[in-house]
Amino acid sequence: MRRGGKMAIKFNNCVRCRDLRELVGMSASKYGGNTAYKEIDDNHVITEYSFNGLKSNTEALAAYLTAHGMKGRHIAVIGQSTYSYVVTYLATVNWVGVIVPIDKELTEEDMIRLLHKSDAEGIFFSAALLPVISYILEQCPKISLAVNISPPSEDRLYPFLEDLLRSGHDMISGGETEFMQGDLDPDALCTILFTSGTTGANKGVMLSHRNITANLFGAMSLFLLPKTSFSVLPINHSYEFNIHVLGALYGGLCLCFNNSLKHVKENLCIFKPEMSLMVPMIVQSLYTNIWKESEKAGLAGHLRFGIWFSNLIRKIGIDNRKIFFFPIYEKLGGNLRTIVCGGAPLNPELVRGFDDIGISVYNGYGITECSPLISSNSPLYNKPGSVGVPFPGCEVRIGDPNPEGIGEIQVRGENVMLGYYKDESATCQSFTKDGWFKTGDLGCLKKKNTLYITGRAKNLIILANGKNVHPEELEEHLVSHISYVREVVVYAQVDENGNDCIITAAAYLDEQFVNEVGRDKAKVIFEEDVNKVNRHLASYKRIAQAQVRETEFEKTTTKKIKRNTINREGTKNA
């Protein structure tokens, strides 16, 4: 085993909350009537919610739920990013039982499967689910309570959250506060999160309050929060909820919920945030858009010169990016200076490109099983190409490193999950004998304990001659040497015995390039360039077949490529 060296980075001083009940209480007493969350509706009407109001509403909902037999039950929540979602989540984990966030973009059959698998007995859903909710409830007879968390409308087939809150407030006013008695066990299960399914069947990750608060402490040790941030990622994902939504409570931040991916740029201009959490696809699109708009306005040359000149004077300590690139900031609301990016590998060129214009992009690394943060770049330390340093209290080691120091990334700390729900076998397999969580990702630790991801053990190609090939290594070669490759997945075609045999690169190419040269010619050029790359590879690693796809790869809702579908699909699209 190899562990990183001693840390030289001075982390932010943070106070650790015992549990999420304490977090909500602390935020109310510290930030009171300030705005915790903002929502925008389709008519651009903005609604604001205070820290005090959140505490009071979570207690009201808890009063109602405990009085109606939900104590200790598992409650699912399905919906977009809203204040109601946050109230439902926190009321459940702080006073009632176990929350089960489910991805709203799943099919109803998948939702039903996860509702069964998680033993859900209550469901809180947004109006978008109304067309299928009766079918879901028919299929899930154990569910005794179904609540619509959208604003009340004429359709009153199901009770609205607002109705429950009203009843709950009345109950508390009438002295029904027994539910508040007793301590909360920080080590007890409080949420079951289903993994995205990039590697097959969904597993229910069990997290406790301690897991989540350890993670929050870690994130806050790395980042000092500004006044306003923009929530654009799905709220059911641990990256968004555990860091961003809960971070708002910790730091007194106002978190503005985007109402649709259709309106990201528009809402950036309305909310004017200083920060956001994003995935690489959105970061890439924002960056591409900056250049497209400047080209359209005939200002691309000016922008290129401005960047060159700005970088030149930065070398002698003069930083005028705020002045030079203000027109670009205005298109993003005017204040956006920090983007934390996770969920998928980020091209370091994007980090540099945004840095040129004065916007810091910090790439982090996490996995749901670690609540999810493991390491991140941050204002304290930023090394493009890496995923930064593990946060205080989260230990990372490299299991069974090869001579280059690359091995499986293993994690130990209070952020590591309790296990997989009702799956002891998978839980046992995911931990080493000495108790470290096996992420299944490959990487190495370098200077200052900086973590680099080099691949995933699960994607490993094992050739018949016993040689191992990491597809990500080849993908990195292809992306860095062939400029028109937008997405590429390297995999091994399987022979009749089920053994990996032909190393294949399936690529989705830049549309402009394909349009210019034509699809047939593009394929020929790509094959030639792959052969050039092959010359720089060990003979056993060489790519035998190059395929060009017509579409980008299928992705999970968190925009990770679904690699397990590539063998089937890659050939179909070739």
């Binding site: 528009e266 696809m281 699109s285 989705y508 549309e511 349009n515 980008e552």
Partner: protein
Amino acid sequence: MLKIIVKDLLDYVDIDESLITEDTRPSTDLHLNSYDYISLVGKLEDDIGIKIDENELRKFVTLGELDAYIQKKMLE
């Protein structure tokens, strides 16, 4: 209506306008990524003044199908 769609589309892709027809597939032929496609739809909503359901959107393969859906919505 297709003209408006094409006009907005050109903010996302570099392609000769005359090559875009109602049979053009945004993801397959124009290689719009999923985020850019949904941003385009947001822009169309603003320009046309209707709401395009995201769940419906996933069913459309060609620009012609999107065009037909928008025209139907405008008549409602």
